[in-house]
């Protein structure tokens, strides 16, 4: 045995191994391996969807940090698959999330459901792709309509609807572990921060400001706060004693550490006896002298400042802040009007200086330097507090997402009903529309009427399955047969007790009443046209979704699913 294996290894060594040919797989979606992977991915993402989601622990099994989350951006980034189809889906959803922040899980669950449903109904891929495209345009056209039943106009006269929107986003992530008053507090702060970033006097070009988030571990969530301007970490025992505001400030983007890092890896030859270090320090001190002469009182550097220069400046009454970090550079430039100086080898031009008011603000055990301009500013700082690191990091993610969602409302001042109601409404609408236009549409799409209806059913079921995914505790999902809103029935309640068990629909607009008819979401029901809600006062939904993000997510999901369905061969280089 031993000799044999030794010989074979010898033979292998002497042989020149040719590159193995690429592997071509026909119809990848027919392989059970791929189907299993897609199903696993769907389960993973589906179970992370919504405010009662199950969380995932992401770690690398060799002692790295553990992240507990249900956020699509983190989850998808953690997924790295050997199969190109999984990577394709992951890539396109991540791209959506990077542009809109919200609805990543919606898009993934919908996309994967579409692929799964397409495999279930026995139709040719081409037909499904064409019908999907057609129905998508039907949906988007409906959503753009003024009288669309699942859309609400946002009222900018009051902050109420904005707060509701913010709260829906914030409470959709259970890792934050927020109580009712806490999530209300954070939603208010998010809206407050958003409003602070909108400029008051509008020039020809509106430019939104920035919210800088500072996480602080170990404090109660209710201590979180928003401040206009910037809060920076300060060196200890700073005294503003005899400094009169506003202060002149200078901002360096170049490292003032005293090294020659900009030389890169190049070689440098020096004569013996030449002390490069002290020469650079002299150069730095020269810079310090100039800055002092120009009466600068606040000296900020993105990177490290040499201790000698720091000491020199501090002794001369200048506030020195180093290691600002790249993320704070842009807000600081906007706030102060300073131009970042990228070199230490020329004198600082007068135009590069900025001006800012400074005060000291204690927060918890730390002291922060509060920078704010004389007039209005669109830069604000949000201090987020939570009891532990895991919850705090998720809260930070969620708040950044909320900021983005609120900004999107400026583009399209409306929102969609949340809690799965938009999905059930769209499904009912599409089902109704496709029944009505079957005779006209099927010839255009080049398929039979039955094929059209079957593919349409698959599309609607996929939409409804997203609404069903919101429930994780074995409860049943229902649709009411008048307004087509989404209802959940807890697992321990029976249908007779529906009125008691589910008093309100998913988005909180419709109240249950005796003569309402319901149907389970995974069963068939007679198609109907969802009735609009006729109320005198404007709708007051308790859960809202971002309109812009959801419409885009819908498109991304259908297009990605169509692309995956269209894949005929997978060619893999196995070398």
């Amino acid at each position: 045995m031993h000799i044999a294996s030794y010989l074979s290894s010898l033979m292998q060594m002497s042989r020149l191994v040719k590159k193995s040919p690429s592997v071509c797989t026909d119809l990848p979606l027919n392989s059970s391996d791929v189907c299993n992977k897609l199903r696993l991915m769907k389960e993973l993402l589906k179970s992370s969807y919504g405010p009662t989601a199950r969380l995932k622990q992401v770690h690398n099994n060799i002692g790295g940090a553990v992240v507990t989350t249900s956020t699509s951006s983190v989850l998808l980034q953690a997924i790295s698959s050997s199969h190109p189809i999984v990577s394709l889906i992951k890539g396109s959803i991540l791209n959506h999330v990077s542009r809109f922040s919200d609805c990543g899980l919606f898009a993934s669950v919908f996309c994967l459901s579409l692929i799964e449903e397409a495999g279930r109904c026995d139709l040719s891929q081409n037909v499904i792709i064409r019908v999907n495209k057609h129905l998508l345009s039907l949906c988007t056209a409906h959503l753009q309509q003024e009288d669309c039943g699942c859309k609400v106009q946002l009222d900018f006269c009051s902050s109420q609807s904005l707060i509701t929107l913010a709260r829906s986003v914030i409470s959709s992530k259970p890792t934050c572990v927020l109580s009712e008053p806490e999530s209300a507090h954070i939603s208010r702060l998010a809206v407050q921060a958003f409003l602070l970033t909108v400029p008051c006097n509008i020039p020809d070009k509106v430019r939104l400001g920035r919210t800088v988030t500072i996480p602080m571990e170990g404090h109660s969530v209710l201590e979180s706060a928003v401040f206009p301007g910037l809060l920076l970490d300060t060196p200890e025992n700073i005294s503003l004693g005899n400094l009169c505001s506003p202060l002149r400030m200078v901002l360096f983007s170049a490292s003032l550490a005293g090294d020659l890092s900009e030389l890169g890896d190049g070689r440098i030859e020096v004569h013996q006896g030449v002390d490069t270090d002290s020469q650079i320090v002299d150069q730095l001190l020269e810079l310090g002298k100039q800055v002092l002469k120009d009466e600068v009182k606040l000296f900020v550097c993105q990177k490290v400042i040499h201790p000698v220069l720091q000491h020199y400046l501090r002794c001369n009454g200048v506030i020195v802040i180093e290691r600002l970090g790249i993320s704070l550079m842009e807000p600081l430039i906007q706030l102060t009007g300073a131009q970042p100086v990228a070199t230490l080898h020329t004198t600082v031009p007068w135009e590069a200086y900025g001006e800012v008011h400074v005060s000291v603000r204690p927060f918890g055990s730390k002291t922060k330097l509060h920078l704010h301009p004389a007039g209005k500013t669109t830069i604000c700082t949000m201090i987020l507090c939570h009891r532990n690191e895991t919850m705090l990091s998720e809260l930070k993610l969620v708040c950044q997402k909320t900021e983005h969602v609120l900004r999107l409302t400026l583009r399209e001042p409306c929102a969609l009903l949340g809690g799965g109601c938009t999905e059930t409404h769209l499904a009912a609408y599409v089902r109704h529309q496709s029944k009505n236009d079957v005779s006209e549409s099927s010839p255009v799409l080049g398929c039979s009427q039955t094929e059209y209806l079957l593919a349409g059913e698959a599309f609607c079921r996929s939409l409804e399955s997203v609404a069903t995914s919101l429930e994780h505790d074995d409860g049943a999902s229902l649709i009411d047969l008048t307004h087509a809103h989404h209802w959940t029935l807890p697992s321990d309640a029976t249908e007779e007790h529906l009125e008691d068990a589910a008093a309100l629909c998913g988005c909180g607009v419709v109240q249950s009443c005796q003569n309402k008819k319901w149907s389970y979401l995974n069963t068939e029901y007679a198609e109907f046209s969802p009735e609009p809600l006729l109320t005198a006062s404007p709708l007051q939904p308790t859960v809202l979704d971002s309109f812009t993000a959801k419409v885009n997510a819908l498109e991304v999901a259908v297009e990605t699913a169509n692309l995956v369905l269209d894949v005929r061969y997978v060619i893999q280089d196995v070398n």
């Binding site: 622990q57 992401v58 099994n61 698959s81 050997s82 440098i268 532990n388």
Partner: protein
């Protein structure tokens, strides 16, 4: 490659891990702790640990749940230095409650709602039954009035009293007499020590010592010394804990532990020689935040990898760069007449030698808060490099005293010096001693736990009934609520509150388990025995419908000694009230529940990277 572990919902693996991990510290909760050896099988190293935090720290949990636990406990310990065991134990107890609820078919959503309500009840109980300092002060008067004096029980407290009669007030408010020494205090230099509503710190401290009487004695002494030195500046009864330092000395018996004003540092042989020269005279001091060596560069400095030195003529007489640098530094120091250098970083051997030759004392690895305090009281400005030093950076008026020569106790010579500033720098060092080197860490931890307990008590200005009292009250309240839900359910015929009642009952069981574990650890009860006593106590509670005042009375009478909750051994007579910290306990409970809820809601692990681990339930994507 992604792998997912799917956790079976009824047999939640994560919760089981959490419960198992908390089982490791079962014998370490409460005042009676056993030492444990934790051994590293691969290297053969072992450590002696005592506190729950050190156990978890040294176990180095690698699983995802374990890391979450460690992160939480570390965060708590960093802030409070006490209560980690309570946190971890309850996380385990409540994860078992969650597991039990799952097993009975209660949905995750319901468990979360019910448990959140449960913790609200518990925190509410804590708030309601906490004993404010005002009440304590009143209670002190009451207890002191009828019996006259309480007899001081141990020599320790007499010793303590001997010390305190120098610094305690004779303000008329104070009636409690712990010993006759106390009443005869004649000192009036510190009449502002006590606020009218402020109970005696010693009484508070004793009731918070939780079995670490010696450590608490040190903590009180240190706290009062800090208060005394800072008295002129602030009239705040809260001491500045950042001015408290510890110095660990092995080889001395534990009884040698003491509190010293100033900053005690250990020196080597060479340094000691220099110290003997400069002692007992006001010195000029320089403070360095970096290392004291030629190769040291500040953080963030990137040295050039490709720097080459070009010589035009060969000169063999040139001394090394380091020698040049050392000469330069020493010359500078001599010019500035600096006699003492304190550095936060390390000092190269060469510098120490040169400095000692010139009778300059160099001390390395000095706590940065020491640098700050000495800086602010002498006017010295800490600098990064020695070459940066100028006249204005140098502080004046520091005293170095040889505190102890410890050479005789250890083979290598060791001298402890006390560095202090004449104008009371406000630093206080607690010297922790032990003959067993491995025990020092545990003793230091005990001291800090006591110091922080005292600190938080003064900060909260309220205490929580201890010795299981708060837990018992919570159990009582939770059970009452559960019973209430059950009655309501049977009346209305609905099952809406059924789950809640059940979960609350299970949460109460977790707390009972904690009390029982603490009692068992005292070694005087068997597990069954402890539970019987707890349930007896509970039925008493249920029967009399206790109110706040009644409970306070109960506490003040300390009649619960016979129930055996107290940490005091039965043969030691004095009836002592035992208290816990309010904020620490509340925070620990809340963090424990946070942990349980996070793990409860987690249904899968995503393992990234290529870590090879063959488990049955892994799925690859």
């Amino acid at each position: 490659m992604l792998e997912g572990v799917v956790i079976n919902s009824r047999q939640h693996v994560g919760l089981q891990k959490l419960s198992a991990l908390s089982g490791r510290i079962r014998s370490s909760v409460g005042p009676f702790k056993n030492y444990k050896f934790i051994q590293d099988e691969s290297s053969g190293d072992s450590v002696l640990v005592c506190s729950c935090f050190r156990i978890i720290e040294n176990l180095e949990p690698t699983c995802a749940v374990g890391q979450l636990v460690y992160e939480t406990v570390r965060g708590h310990h960093k802030q409070y230095h006490t209560g980690s065991g309570c946190l971890l134990f309850l996380a385990g107890g409540w994860s078992r409650a969650a597991l039990d609820s799952l097993r009975r078919g209660i949905s995750v959503k319901h468990i979360i709602t019910a448990m959140s309500e449960g913790i609200d009840i518990c925190l509410d109980v804590c708030k309601k039954f906490s004993v404010s300092f005002k009440d304590l002060a009143v209670m002190e008067k009451c207890t002191a009035a009828p019996g006259g004096t309480k007899k001081a029980s141990t020599d320790a407290s007499i010793e303590m009293a001997n010390f305190h009669d120098k610094c305690l007030s004779k303000s008329g408010q104070r009636k409690v007499k712990l010993s006759r020494h106390f009443c005869e205090a004649k000192s009036d230099m510190l009449s502002t020590v006590r606020h009218p509503d402020q109970p005696d710190m010693i009484v508070i401290a004793e009731s918070l010592s939780h079995g670490c009487e010696k450590a608490m004695k040190l903590a009180v002494e240190a706290a009062q010394m800090l208060l005394k030195t800072n008295q002129q500046r602030i009239r705040d009864p809260l001491f500045d804990i950042s001015k408290m330092l510890t110095c660990l000395v092995s080889g001395l018996p534990e009884d040698y532990a003491c509190v010293v004003e100033g900053c005690i540092l250990l020196l080597s042989d060479e340094q000691a020689a220099a110290a003997h020269v400069v002692k007992q005279q006001p010195l000029k001091v320089a403070l360095i935040t970096g290392d004291l060596s030629q190769t040291y560069r500040h953080l963030g400095f990137k040295s050039l990898p490709g720097e080459q030195c070009v010589c035009e003529d060969l000169d063999l007489s040139v001394s090394s760069k380091e020698d040049e640098w050392v000469d330069k530094v020493v010359k500078l120091l001599l010019n500035l007449e600096v006699k003492l250098i304190l550095t936060a970083g390390l000092v190269s051997q060469k510098v120490i030698q040169h400095c000692c030759r010139h009778q300059i004392l160099v001390v390395e690895k000095v706590n940065s808060s020491v640098l700050k305090t000495i800086g602010s009281s002498t006017g010295a400005i800490p600098v990064n490099y020695a070459t940066q030093l100028t006249e204005s950076c140098v502080g004046d008026g520091v005293n170095v005293e040889i505190w102890r020569d410890l050479s005789s106790y250890e083979r290598k010579s060791l001298t402890a010096v006390n560095i202090s500033t004449g104008r009371s720098s406000g630093l206080v060092t607690v010297v922790v001693t032990s003959c067993v080197h491995g025990k020092l860490q545990a003793l230091e931890d005990q001291f800090w736990a006591c110091a922080y307990r005292l600190y938080h008590a003064l900060k909260d200005r309220a205490l929580l009934p201890g010795a299981g009292g708060a837990e018992l009250l919570c159990v009582h309240q939770l059970q009452k609520q559960a019973e209430h839900d059950r009655v309501k359910d049977s009346k209305t015929g609905s099952a809406a509150n059924l789950y809640r009642g059940l979960v609350l009952q299970l949460m109460a069981d977790g707390l009972i388990d904690y009390i029982a574990a603490v009692m068992v650890n005292t070694g005087r009860f068997t597990a069954a025995n402890a539970r019987t006593i707890v349930s007896k106590q509970l039925t008493e509670f249920h029967r009399d419908e206790i109110s706040t005042e009644k409970f306070l009375q109960l506490v003040s009478q300390s009649k619960r000694e016979d129930a055996g909750f107290s940490a005091v051994k039965p043969d030691e007579a004095p009836a002592l009230n035992i208290y816990d910290n309010l904020s620490v306990k509340q925070e620990a409970w809340r963090k424990a529940l946070d942990l349980v809820l996070l793990v409860l809601q987690t249904d899968a692990e995503i393992i990234t990277g290529t870590g090879q681990k063959n488990e049955g339930n892994l799925m690859l994507l």
